[in-house]
Symmetry: C2
DNA sequence: CTGAAAGCGCTTACAG
DNA sequence: CTGAAAGCGCTTACAG
């Protein structure tokens, strides 16, 4: 059984394909009420499902946006992805996700794939990437928005950002207020611009008080497994610490697990603070104190911004969000 | 700047579009080595990115598969989604995700959308859905595979299943071996076939020993928030229990959180067991004892099965996985 | 060795 | 009120 096409309906009703197309797309045209009705009925009867590939070829629009992210399994990204999908859907767009694992070559490959699929725009949830990628996008005139990806000349691009430095400063201040002095900081992968920003916030705060020490810095990888490993090596290193500031919640969760298991009481023996406020962080015991990003909101705004530029070609815009200290039980 | 097309290359090199197309697609044709080279060079120079929408219109293939799932934010689904994407990618397919929140109308809407986009096949990670959906797929000749969606006549469909009943029986047995008698069971939403299967396993085990009681059954919703709520009401209900078997890990995590917070020791005061073995369940303290599904493996096989039917139209096949008791710290 | 032509299923000026 | 025709950018028989 062949799929039904516009032509089938046109023949069934006895009008041209053009008329059918315009009627089904609710274009403002003069068609008698009776043929209009016949067309709709016939479409229904024949179970017509329009071929949007054909449509896209002629309109150059696909109503699809591409999302480039490191790993959909990571709760931060699945939360933000969900937000993006929700608003995309509201505006009748749908979404293709591409996991890059923060690999540059994968990113470039996916960008080309998405261009070849004629996506109407892209959102980058990845903090790495060469100029090269951006150039491909520019050359092909595809609108895009960056999320927390810091570039040289930020005003040239649509972007949604969180004030990472300030967030970390808040956290360090809070730890200090609670009498902590030896605050370790666990960074994300240092090739990510967001890792740098967060570390900068820490350095700034600590240096200001003359208590900054290189030995308190540890490099993690933003995963829970990574948080476990780095915490084990902190313990092994014999560096004395009374608090650990993890660059994100996923690592903090791993860290808590290790510490609890080794018999530490949190926060009595050691304080913990994270960054992100992913959903699960309030579902563990003790609940994780963290610097909250408005994750869902950021995703929403990123998607709105993208759709706006797709549809109205507005000027470039940057949106900044303020992270917020979420006081729970680990400090 | 207009995007470059086959025609541009053809003109630059001085051959026909057909030749360019065949050369770039590495078709077996007789072309002199020199024109072949010229074509590749020109394509590179002009930054040619093929228009796969046009390609799809003429080939009727999109190299895209659609995934229907309840919610990408749910760790179980993001894990399995990632698995699917990994193998899809290996075979040069890519993937569109659609979140249905287990709503029938959303599912139907997405199915039509995906058909209109000419996806080559679909994977259903959702346990609800009417016959209707399946009929649309059949009528449009789109291959699909079901994951843990139990239908009347299972042999008619490609499917990947986990032996849910047996898994739960194993868990109950293990609890019994550990001297537990008053084992509460928290189901998922009862409209999901997988919830029913798991409850059946529990009933079977308990009835066999004559210790089944209706009052020990509670209905949850498979989310962590739901696990928190249901656990609070179990505590309030004053039904005495010495173990809680949660229908999935997400609820078990919520439950553990509530119990720990109320001062219960796990497993001394109460035993907990989950189902799924999502990644995070080994990252909490105490580590969650659970019935493990081979999540990644199931996703992989589902995707392989789909691609196989897309490319070879093999006969229908069902793959069954055995869940496995993962002994950790909560029993 | 290579090209002309038809076709995939739509949309969109244009014409009457 | 409605239709004929061109075009979107590819692929694929077919012809020579």
């Amino acid at each position: 059984m062949r799929k039904t096409t516009l032509k089938d309906i046109a023949e069934a009703v006895g009008v041209s394909k053009a008329t059918v197309s315009m009627v089904l797309n609710n274009k403002e045209i003069n068609v008698s009420e009776s043929t209009r009705e016949k067309i709709f009925n016939s479409a229904k009867e024949l179970n017509y499902i329009p071929n949007s590939v054909a449509r896209s070829l002629s309109t150059k629009k696909t109503e699809t946006i591409g999302i480039i992210l490191p790993d959909i399994e990571n709760p931060f990204f699945s939360e933000i992805a969900r937000a993006i999908e929700d608003v995309a859907n509201k505006f009748n767009y749908n979404v293709i996700f591409c996991n890059t694992d923060n690999k540059n070559d994968k990113e470039e490959q996916y960008i080309k794939l998405l261009i070849s699929k004629l996506v109407d725009g892209m959102i980058f949830l990845t903090g790495v990437g060469k100029e090269e990628s951006i150039n491909i996008l520019k050359n092909n005139n595809v609108p895009f928005v960056l999320v927390d990806r810091y570039m040289e000349n930020v005003e040239e691009f649509n972007g949604v950002y969180c004030l990472n430095e300030e967030g970390v400063e808040q956290g360090v201040d809070y730890l200090l207020q609670n009498g902590k002095k030896r605050i370790a900081f666990v960074t994300g992968p240092m090739e990510l611009s967001v890792s740098k920003k967060r570390l900068d916030g820490y350095k700034k705060s600590m240096t200001k008080r003359n208590i900054y020490k290189d030995e308190l810095i540890f490099e993690g990888d933003f995963t829970t497994e990574g948080g476990i490993k780095v915490t084990q090596s902190i313990l092994k290193s014999k560096v004395s610490v009374d608090a650990i500031f993890y660059g994100n919640d996923a690592m903090a969760l791993g860290g808590m697990k290790v510490l609890l298991r080794k018999g530490y009481n949190i926060p009595e023996d050691i304080s913990i603070i994270g960054f992100d406020n992913i959903r699960i962080s309030s579902f563990v015991q003790p609940e994780l104190t963290t610097i909250g990003q408005p994750i869902y909101h950021m995703g929403k705004e990123a998607c709105k911004l993208l759709i706006n530029t797709i549809e109205h070609k507005d000027e470039k815009k940057q949106i900044y969000f303020k992270p917020e200290l979420i006081i729970r039980d680990t400090v």
